[in-house]
């Protein structure tokens, strides 16, 4: 049975795909005209499903102390997490600002050389200069605690997943749910188990940050050359020896990348966890929103960006040094004497600072961007509003409104049928079944109308992300200078918490769906630009020269050669972008985007809406899995096709 489904999944429909697509388009247009306004599923705030979810929470509430195993596990986890955070914080705080700066610089020097040392030192000092030393250390400690737990659990699971296809297949939907399910949906119930403060914050951060650790570790283990594994096997290595002596050492570099991604994910939780009183910079950002002081929020956001860049560059360097393909990888960055001086110096500074009791960063050195940022934001929202407003009106009337009208007035079975049909044409029966299950699940959750609204917003955000991202990616691939200027801006866009620029966005576009879309586009653009740039830059020079010598203009070159070759990277970018856009749906709910995001926010804020919020969160997961699988399937096929084309051209 399974075998039959699998083989069906790989089979394609007979005939041209374009023909089928045209038939599908015509049939759906006819059916839409005939049945528009019928079989719609209007939203009902009192749907029975929501009641059942609410009852479930009340039941958990009432019985959470009666299951002794659960109580023991939760208490143990709480104690460990609490002690880990408190311990890390105490050590980092005790090291004080001169100590941490010196240690950071020395570590940077040993791992990556002078540039990294300078980055680490400047980074630590900037926390103090921004007047955010203590908050930054809290955030660092909480992030490191959550990352440590994520890795301690995630890497072993990732190793298992790397060695067993069946296991990986089984946990994949769980990983998807952990990553896509909005934290808002379970934040309040979690605090009932893990209490208000850092422990609950660490738990939700682990839930969000662990999946990449598992996925990338599995990828690393799988990536070990089969020849090496075979060689070890033929020498009689046991499973454990194979893992310890071959697979783990060879996958080491990829596993460091997993650490890198886990850290980035954990840092993106800083603001949301502040809603349950997590210590750290998130508090400053929430406070800035409450008191409408965008500039203050910018300072704290900047500290998060700096921390992300420091940790990213540091772990990237570590990973590069572990690259077995690089001849100089194992060579120390500095000589033995300098090494000693660096370590000794850092330790001496730390010891001196501790002995002298240096704690406060000198206030004379403080600098805040709050004033200039606030003036700039005020000026822009007063004087550029006419332009931004017109842009919003244009996109809303031309794209959002017509699409939303079609999706919410079409019969639910028609929308389901068309999307499943597209999935069938792109990826075969298996993909069509996954799509069908996701959409029917949304119907069963009684979340149809809001899901369609959100789906439209996600589609419009993706269109805008691709248009802007591809354009920037092409420019970056053409010009090294543009690329160099763009890179820090992309880092900024990806790591600056959306909460910081949410208020200016509302000032420019008002509390509307488009504002949520803007936040999503800003967040999703960086990976798209990077992937497109890499895609175009990897066009083999021979292919490009062939095009040039046959008299192609730059535009023709782009259209006929570069973009087709870069298409696989582009489709990976679409896939990445969709997950990131979905992560912003809830943020949209906070600024008037309505749809599923608003339901999730309401579910967090109000007990009586909990059921509706949870249903909406599950609907987001279903939409996410559906869009992810469809774009992934499209990507993997194009990759195969493009690979063949490049081979042919060369």
């Amino acid at each position: 049975m399974t075998a039959a489904v699998l083989s069906l999944g790989r089979s394609r429909l007979p005939g041209s795909r374009g023909l089928w697509l045209a038939a599908l388009a015509i049939a759906s247009a006819v059916l839409y005209v005939a049945f528009a306004g019928q079989w719609t599923l209007p939203h009902d705030n009192d749907a029975p499903t929501f009641e059942r979810f609410l009852d479930l929470r009340s039941w958990v509430d009432a019985n959470r102390n009666s299951n002794i195993v659960l109580v023991v596990v939760v208490t143990a986890a709480r104690t460990i997490l609490g002690a880990l955070y408190e311990g890390l914080y105490a050590v980092l705080a005790a090291a004080s600002w001169p100590g941490l700066t010196a240690i950071g610089a020395a570590a940077g020097l040993l791992v990556g050389g002078w540039r990294l040392a300078a980055l680490m030192a400047t980074g630590f000092l900037s926390f103090g200069v921004l007047g955010l030393w203590e908050r930054s250390v809290e955030t660092l400690a909480l992030t490191l605690a959550a990352v440590a737990i994520s890795l301690a659990i995630g890497i072993p699971i990732g190793i298992l997943a790397g060695r067993s296809d069946r296991f990986y297949g089984a946990i994949r939907p769980i990983l998807d749910a952990m990553q896509i399910m909005p934290t808002f949906a379970y934040l309040a119930p979690i605090t009932m188990f893990f209490l208000i403060g850092p422990t609950s914050a660490a738990v939700v951060t682990v839930i969000y940050a662990m999946p990449p650790a598992i996925r990338i570790t599995a990828l690393g283990i799988r990536g070990v050359a089969p020849a090496s594994v075979e060689a070890a096997r033929s020498l009689g290595a046991t499973g454990r020896q194979l893992l310890a002596k071959v697979q783990l050492p060879m996958a080491r570099r990829t596993i460091v990348l997993a650490i890198n991604q886990t850290i980035m994910m954990a840092l993106s939780m800083v603001v949301i966890t502040a809603l349950v009183d997590a210590p750290g910079l998130g508090k400053n950002i929430l406070g800035a929103i409450v008191s409408h002081n965008v500039g203050r929020g910018f300072d704290a956001g900047l500290a998060i960006v700096i921390m992300a860049i420091m940790l990213d560059r540091f772990t990237t360097q570590v990973s590069e040094r572990l690259d077995p393909g690089r001849p100089d990888a194992a060579r120390p960055t500095v000589g033995p004497w300098l090494r000693r001086i660096a370590i000794g110096g850092a330790l001496a500074v730390t010891a001196a600072a501790v002995a002298l009791g240096v704690t406060e960063f000198p206030e004379d050195l403080n600098f805040s961007f709050a004033g200039p940022v606030n003036s700039a934001v005020d000026w822009i929202s007063l004087n550029l509003f006419f332009a931004t407003f017109a842009f919003k009106e244009g996109v809303t009337y031309a794209l959002i409104n017509p699409l939303e009208h079609v999706f919410t007035t079409a019969p639910w079975w028609l929308v389901t049928g068309v999307i499943a049909g597209i999935a069938l044409l792109i990826g075969g029966l298996r993909l069509a079944i996954i799509t069908l299950v996701c959409l029917l699940g949304i119907v069963a959750l009684e979340m149809w109308e809001h899901s369609m609204e959100t789906l439209v917003q996600v589609l419009v955000a993706m269109i805008l992300t691709l248009v802007i991202g591809v354009a920037l990616g092409i420019l970056a691939a053409r010009s090294d200078r543009f690329s160099a200027v763009l890179r820090p801006l992309l880092d900024f866009a990806q790591t600056m918490p959306a909460f910081v620029y949410l208020l200016p966005a509302v000032a420019l576009f008002l509390a509307v769906r488009f504002t949520g879309i803007v936040a999503a586009v800003i967040y999703a653009i960086p990976p798209v630009v990077r992937l497109v740039e890499i895609g175009i830059r990897t066009v083999p020079p021979a292919v490009r020269e062939a095009g040039v010598s046959s008299g192609a203009t730059p535009l023709q070159l782009l259209r006929k050669v570069e973009l087709p070759v870069a298409l696989p990277a582009l489709l990976v970018a679409v896939n990445q972008g969709i997950v990131m856009v979905l992560a912003m749906v809830v943020v949209g709910g906070l600024v008037g985007a309505g749809g599923l995001g608003y339901d999730v926010v309401a579910g967090f804020q109000r007990r009586d809406f909990f059921g509706e919020g949870l249903a909406a969160a599950i609907a987001i997961v279903l939409l996410g899995i559906m869009l992810d699988r469809i774009t992934q399937s499209a990507g993997s096929q194009r990759r195969a096709a493009a690979g063949a084309a490049v081979g042919h051209a060369a």
């Binding site: 090291a95 508090k283 330790l347 010891a351 509302v506 926010v601």
Partner: protein, 310 residues
């Protein structure tokens, strides 16, 4: 090689020293700790700034401020993590659960502030369309409020989901040609109001007093059919304006009974909307921290707070 060994030894030594230093955190004598929920709006922070300052400076308590959403704050009464909510805007469902059923919280009395919720428009609209302030004329102006979000109807800007609200039912029952669009947060509403004043964009919205923004921009309340006792019994059929809400404090039961001077001060805390707006203005517009704002108000209003002292 020796360099490596030296490094490890030295790192180990300093790490041990750091742990020792970390454990050696001193603490001054305190009469105890008060766990204060901070709900995310400035008016609440103003209350908290003054009460926390008095608890710490006058009575010698330590105040642990916990920034929390309302729902999570109430949960804290049960787990013992929250001692007090300083400004409660009438949540019958939560009061029923935590005060009546579970018995873990008690009403701590009025803050003296009166919450006025209603429908508002910016003042420039009233100058231009003087009769707009009566709900009966709203349909005449519905066209004016049409936006890209509201289809053929006028837009009514609804609020943060956690606030008490029944605008959808009101619009339906009063037969108004409007559709509710939810801003999703107080912050988004504030930005929308500011722009409606600065750019002269028509806006009809859910709003309330006390709020610091009311000191900066002039807003006018729409006259809905007046509130009468009992007219809000069936929220599906409601046809009247929001009632005035007496804002009150909620205390954890045990804290209320055994909290000593701290509990007494909090129970006695009582001031006016003007007092609160003043402190809120310090925080939002004069760039003071909550501590600075609390200190300033306390120094200038001794006669008011002396009456609260145990």
């Amino acid at each position: 090689m020796s360099s490596k060994r030296f490094g490890r030894l030295a790192v180990g030594l300093v790490a041990a020293g750091l742990v020792a230093a970390a454990c050696n955190t001193g603490g001054g004598a305190s009469k105890g700790t008060v766990n204060m929920a901070i709900n995310p709006w400035v008016g609440y922070e103003a209350d908290a700034a003054v009460v926390a300052y008095l608890l710490e400076e006058e009575l010698g308590y330590t105040v642990e401020k916990k920034v929390l959403a309302e729902d999570v704050s109430w949960q804290g009464f049960e787990s013992g993590e929250v001692d007090v909510i300083l400004e409660n805007w009438g949540h019958p469902a939560l009061e029923q659960e935590y005060i009546t059923e579970k018995g873990v919280a008690v009403d701590g009395g009025s803050t003296g502030n009166v919450g006025i919720i209603g429908w508002y428009v910016p003042a420039w609209m009233v100058e231009e369309y003087p009769d707009i302030t009566s709900w009966e004329n709203l349909n005449k102006y519905a066209e004016l409020f049409k936006t890209s979000e509201s289809g053929d109807l006028g837009e009514f800007l609804g609020t943060d989901p956690s606030y008490v609200q029944y605008d959808e039912a009101l619009i339906e029952n009063l037969g108004l040609d409007f559709a509710v669009r939810f801003s999703g947060s107080e912050a988004a509403t504030v930005e929308a109001i500011k722009q409606s004043v600065e750019q002269e964009l028509p806006l009809l919205f859910y709003w309330w007093d006390p709020h610091w923004l009311n000191a900066q921009v002039e807003l006018v309340r729409i006259d809905l059919p007046p509130y009468e006792a009992g007219c809000d019994e069936d929220l599906e059929a409601i046809e009247c304006d929001y009632p005035e809400t007496d804002l009150n404090k909620i205390l954890r039961k045990e804290f209320a009974d055994e909290g000593g001077d701290a509990a007494t001060l909090i129970k006695n805390f009582n001031w006016t909307n003007e007092d609160q707006n003043l402190v809120a203005d310090y925080i939002t517009n004069q760039d003071m921290t909550a501590e600075e704002a609390g200190k300033k108000w306390v120094e200038e209003n001794e006669s008011v707070w002396q009456a609260w002292m145990p």
